[in-house]
């Protein structure tokens, strides 16, 4: 039973955060391609701005990976109690939902940053920093999930 909860948690962490990043990067990539069709020399800068909303998916994946290891899904050895399983499920929500929403929001910021950079390349660093302002909320969600996942084996329920 515990294992099932854990696996659902793993899916939530990966998929929700992944959707956030996919939407964010997708929107940014569309904007970037519009700019590149006019001036292909901006590829490097556009790539950087496009990739910025991509981190949420990574954070989700990392939490999921630590859960795979921590709950022994890969080894198939450890037993996970149903309380622990629910705890893993709960831990996944933070990075999943946090990543989903912040990924989309960061994507919007990236689109705006790209059009700003297209007007004047000198705006690049300002755009970059402004886009990373969103990132902190994904990071906080990630760290909460991370610390929870790491501590679950030591918690007595």
């Amino acid at each position: 039973m515990g294992m099932i909860f854990t696996i659902v948690g793993i899916a939530i962490a990966t998929v929700l955060a992944g959707i956030g990043s996919a939407k964010g990067v997708g929107a940014a990539a569309q904007a970037a391609m519009g700019v590149l069709s006019e001036d292909s020399s901006m590829f490097g800068k556009m790539l950087v701005l496009t990739l910025l909303p991509g981190t949420q998916g990574l954070y989700g994946f990392i939490v999921a990976f630590l859960m795979l290891i921590g709950a022994g899904v890969l080894g198939g050895g450890d037993t996970v109690t149903w309380q622990q399983g629910l705890a893993y499920l709960g831990a996944s929500l933070s990075v999943g939902i946090g990543g989903l929403v912040s990924g989309i929001a960061q994507g919007k910021a990236a689109v705006a940053g790209i059009s700003m950079c297209a007007k004047d390349e000198k705006n690049f660093s300002k755009a970059m920093v402004s886009i990373t302002l969103v990132e902190i909320y994904a990071l906080l969600a990630f760290i909460v999930s991370l610390l929870t996942v790491i501590s679950i084996p030591n918690i007595t329920f």
């Binding site: 990392i62 630590l66 920093v129 990132e135 990071l139 610390l147």
Partner: protein, 654 residues
């Protein structure tokens, strides 16, 4: 920075300006023309040079599209080609010829564009002819002696019977014959024959159901016409190929065109400066700025010209800023200028920024293997490409970051993730842990909480250093109240909290000391922060409200938890790819699979995490530290120089 006035006889103008341009020492100042002097209007020459340079640029672009250059992937790192100053003369000589060639290239390109437009027009015509292809008489067939011929389209689907029905219903007396040529759901092409005396009647009736004559009627049958158009289009295509080949023949001149473009840019730059000169009948005056350490060099140059006189004085507030740092900090200058060059009141933040930039980058990238790759790759880049100053500094920046990355990789026990452990186990079957290999290491996963506290502690140091800079700047400007009350008290308050936090872990006594300092500082803040307000209540309320700023400090410090998060991301991603690479075991196929996955996987990890580390390090500098003291908004020092993209002139003096 010094202000300099250079005065010389007019006859030496050309020589002096050439020397100044080659040496790139002086930033030309824009001034109003002084009494008794005149300015030369160079705008028409300038326009000519700029026009020529643009023509070269355009031709290079056309050449690039039609005959792409085979460029190495890394050629962007390459420094400019060095040439002798005699070679400039040769370039000048051939510039006329290059203008001719570029003129031809752009003329040929214009023809290609025209032809392509014509092809598009033909495609539209062909599409219009499509419904008429089966018609065996010309579209403009006129009436015979007794018969009227009406050719046109109807906006609905009909066949011969349904059309006849519709017409007969509307006008039973009309005599007609229809021939439907083409029919689709919203278009029917039809020929209607009717006796000549009924022509008007038939036409009126047909118009009633939407009949219209074809566009562009011709005297050939539609099929013939379509054939001719197709042929013409094919001819145009062939013609375009020929034109392209002709342009491609000029590809061999590409380098010469580039040189010529640079040459015109240089001349344009010179004429821009000439327009800034105050000239009288015999002499001219150039006003500019020069870094203090270069004054001597300028003097040596000017000694070569006997008539030249130099006057130095202290620079005013509008002087441009040239950053000057030691070898360790210099590569980070680009990070500062990307934000904004320091203003007159700022201190140069580069040394502080450089240290923390390397430090934090390393902590986020945190892998000894990746760091080593970074160091080696940048070293090779510097050695092989001999890049220009700017690119050299960028490579150096990443080299220092690489060294820091190796350091942190060793601390976090990460060499290509856990590669040593994974491969040891794969090939020997024995278990071993990174901790056994590196007993000193901190495990990012198991010690995450400790590393997070450490990250925030580093953040505190970073923020305090930023505030320290503010303190220093205020003292320098003799704003003592701002220095001690606005900055000093906050710094002490943060230190107090830090001691308090440390005390919770270490001992009760520190808690009391920390709390004492914090409370004292808070009281101090309440008493001083409202000092601009009027009335005792205004002052008090202002003071209490200022304590609310603590939230911004807390969020600043929390922001440093990204040091842990990104460090962990690198480690875990590397670990994932290591695990994947060993999935197929140690058979021959397994090893091949391993090599491919290992290289591809780590390449992905390096790409994503190097980008992340770079971006987030930069953010920590700009948002968390610069906000504490740095104003920016200065003008960069841009000396009158050879702003060429392609070549640079060898310095013959040293």
């Amino acid at each position: 920075m010094k202000a300099v006035r250079i005065i010389a006889l007019k006859q030496d103008r050309k020589r002096l300006l050439e020397h100044l341009q080659d040496s790139a020492l002086v930033h030309v100042k824009h001034t109003e023309v002084q009494d008794g002097f005149q300015r030369t209007d160079t705008s028409s020459q300038l326009r000519q040079f700029e026009k020529n340079a643009e023509l070269m640029e355009k031709s290079l672009k056309i050449l690039g599209n039609i005959a792409p250059e085979k460029k190495g992937f890394l050629s962007g790192f390459k420094g400019r080609r060095e040439i002798d100053s005699d070679e400039i003369g040769k370039i000048a000589l051939q510039s006329g010829r290059m203008i001719g060639i570029c003129g031809k290239i752009s003329k040929l390109d214009a023809q290609i564009t025209d032809n392509t437009a014509e092809q598009a027009r033909i495609r539209t015509l062909l599409a219009q002819l499509e419904p008429w292809k089966k018609l065996d008489i010309p579209l403009n067939t006129s009436d015979t002696a007794s018969m009227a011929v009406l050719i046109g389209t109807l906006p609905k689907e009909y066949d011969d019977t349904s059309l006849a029905e519709v017409l007969a219903e509307k006008d039973p007396e009309l005599v007609f014959e229809t021939e439907v040529i083409y029919s689709s759901s919203n278009l029917t092409s039809v020929v209607v024959y009717t006796p000549k005396q009924q022509k008007d009647r038939a036409e009126l009736l047909l118009r009633g159901i939407g009949f219209s004559r074809p566009l562009n009627p011709t005297s050939k049958t539609p099929l013939d016409k379509a054939k001719r158009l197709t042929q013409k289009s094919a001819d145009l295509k062939e013609k375009n190929e020929e034109l392209k080949n002709e342009i491609a023949k000029y590809a061999e001149y590409r380098d010469s065109i580039r040189d010529t473009q640079d040459y015109f840019e240089l001349r344009a730059e010179k004429y821009r400066v000439i327009a800034e000169l105050d000239q009288s009948e015999h002499i001219f005056v150039l006003n500019g700025y020069i870094p203090e350490e270069d004054c001597g060099k300028l003097e040596t140059i000017c000694q070569k010209i006997p008539s030249c006189v130099l006057e130095f004085e202290e620079a005013d507030e509008n002087a441009p800023v040239k950053l000057k740092n030691n070898k360790f900090a210099e590569p980070a200058e680009s990070i500062v200028t990307m934000y904004s060059p320091p203003s007159h009141d700022d201190i140069d933040p580069t040394p502080v920024l450089a240290f923390f930039f390397y430090f934090f980058f390393g902590m986020m990238f945190s892998d000894a293997g990746y760091g080593l790759l970074l160091v080696i790759a940048t070293a090779i880049g510097i050695k092989v490409f001999k890049p220009d100053k700017k690119m050299y500094n960028n490579l150096k920046l990443f080299q220092y970051c690489g060294i820091s990355t190796i350091f942190w990789g060793l601390i976090f026990g990460s060499v290509f993730g856990d590669a040593p452990v994974v491969f040891y186990k794969l090939f020997t079957g024995n278990e071993i842990t990174m901790k056994q290999l590196m007993p000193w290491m901190l495990d990012t996963q198991k010690d995450a909480l400790f590393i997070m506290i450490m990250s925030i502690a580093f953040g505190l140091v970073h923020v305090l250093v930023g505030m320290g800079c503010k303190f220093y700047v205020c003292l320098k400007q003799k704003k003592y109240a701002e220095a001690f009350f606005d900055t000093g008290l906050w710094m002490m308050l943060l230190v107090g909290f830090a001691i308090l936090a440390a005390g919770m872990a270490i001992g009760q006594i520190l808690v009391y000391i920390g709390a004492g300092i914090a409370i004292a500082c808070a009281v101090g803040l309440v008493l001083t922060q409202g000092r601009e307000k009027k009335g005792i209540f205004g002052k008090l309320i202002g003071g209490v409200a200022s304590l609310y700023d603590i939230t911004s400090y807390v969020s600043d410090l929390l922001s440093y938890s990204r040091l842990l998060a990104l460090g962990l991301t690198t480690g875990v991603m590397a670990q994932v790819f290591n695990m994947l690479s060993t999935l197929m075991g140690t058979s021959v196929i397994g090893i091949l699979f391993m090599i491919v996955i290992f290289i591809a996987g780590h390449a992905i990890t390096i790409g994503l995490n190097a980008l992340g580390s770079y971006v987030h390090t930069m953010r920590l500098q700009y948002v968390e530290m610069f906000s504490k003291f740095y104003e920016g908004g200065g003008r960069p020092f841009e000396p009158f120089s050879l702003k060429s993209k392609n070549f640079k002139i060898k310095n013959t003096d040293d």
